[in-house]
Symmetry: C2
Subunit: 187 residues, 2 copies
């Protein structure tokens, strides 16, 4: 009933995710995605009838899913909200440093390069915030939602400035400020 079941689709999503993190949305050509994923050129429109936008949507969704898993995982090991904050910041920072300041956030470009993908980014951010806030609330943090907003904004901002400055100073600063605030909240 079918031809060979190909793994090209998933490979393309992975490649797209990486490239968007590094170069943004418009700077990434479909040919770049194909080259990195070693997928055949003609497959794009078949696997993603919506074209590039659909590919980006899927990449964002997978990125978010993976992030949510990591958050929940970190929350399970954390002994308090400060631990979770540290873990979340650490995740972004280590990815950035390990890639020699190349890999930022997959979602951010979709916001800045407005192409009708703002809503996708909005859903992703909402999920992240709600998940973070849920864990913070469990830890007994008042205004858990507010803290989650600050954490997300801090990470996104640090990812940008750290990249441009080629320094982890922004991450250290954000971490200091957030921990300072968390301590105060719990007092």
């Amino acid at each position: 009933m079918a031809g060979k079941r190909s793994d090209a689709r998933q490979k393309m999503v992975v490649a797209a995710r990486e490239l968007f993190r590094e170069q943004g949305y418009h700077a990434t050509a479909l040919s770049d995605v194909l080259k990195r994923s070693e997928a055949p050129r003609g497959s794009v429109y078949f696997h993603f009838p919506g074209g590039k936008a659909e590919l980006a949507t899927e990449a964002a969704d997978q990125h978010t899913s993976e992030l949510l898993e990591n958050i929940t995982l970190a929350a399970a090991e954390a002994t308090g909200p400060a631990d979770l904050v540290r873990a979340y910041l650490g995740l972004a920072r280590s990815n950035l440093v390990a890639s020699d300041y190349r890999q930022g956030c997959t979602i951010a470009p979709l916001v800045l390069e407005s192409d009708g993908l703002d809503d996708v980014a909005g859903r992703s951010f909402t999920l992240i915030i709600d998940t973070l806030a849920g864990h913070f609330a469990t830890f007994g943090v008042p205004d858990a939602h507010e803290l989650a907003h600050a954490v997300l904004a801090g990470v996104e901002g640090a990812l940008i400035t750290a990249r441009a400055l080629r320094s982890t100073a922004p991450f250290d600063a954000v971490q200091t400020v957030l921990e300072s605030h968390v301590e105060r909240l719990l007092k």
Copy 2:
């Protein structure tokens, strides 16, 4: 020995600045810049031999200059570091809201859409941080540089998430956290 001096150049820089804030770098075609600035096509390469990249560099530089002026202005009126933080956040927020969540930061796209413009962005961020830190130090803040890093990252991050969420919640959250930290620093 000279021809007519045209204001086309400056108009183009202004238009580019606006468009990059709204759409990012690659999504902004030179034809878009020309349309908004009402400048002729041929003028691009004449005024900016380096092409689009040079135009972006100039736009970033002018954006930064204006920002530094505003920071210094706000610092003069501020009675403490918290005032300056509020003013800087307020500037970004009011621009964003006034434009119906369209106008973000001019520099950020240059970082995310890597096209060799990272260093330009780096210089801009360094200037902003140093200026902020200078004022914070004047106000007697210890670790003024660290605070400046956190403020910049907070604003950049809030600009992204607020835009996607179409909400000012990120700004409010960042402000709360930063003020909380400043209070603690001065204690």
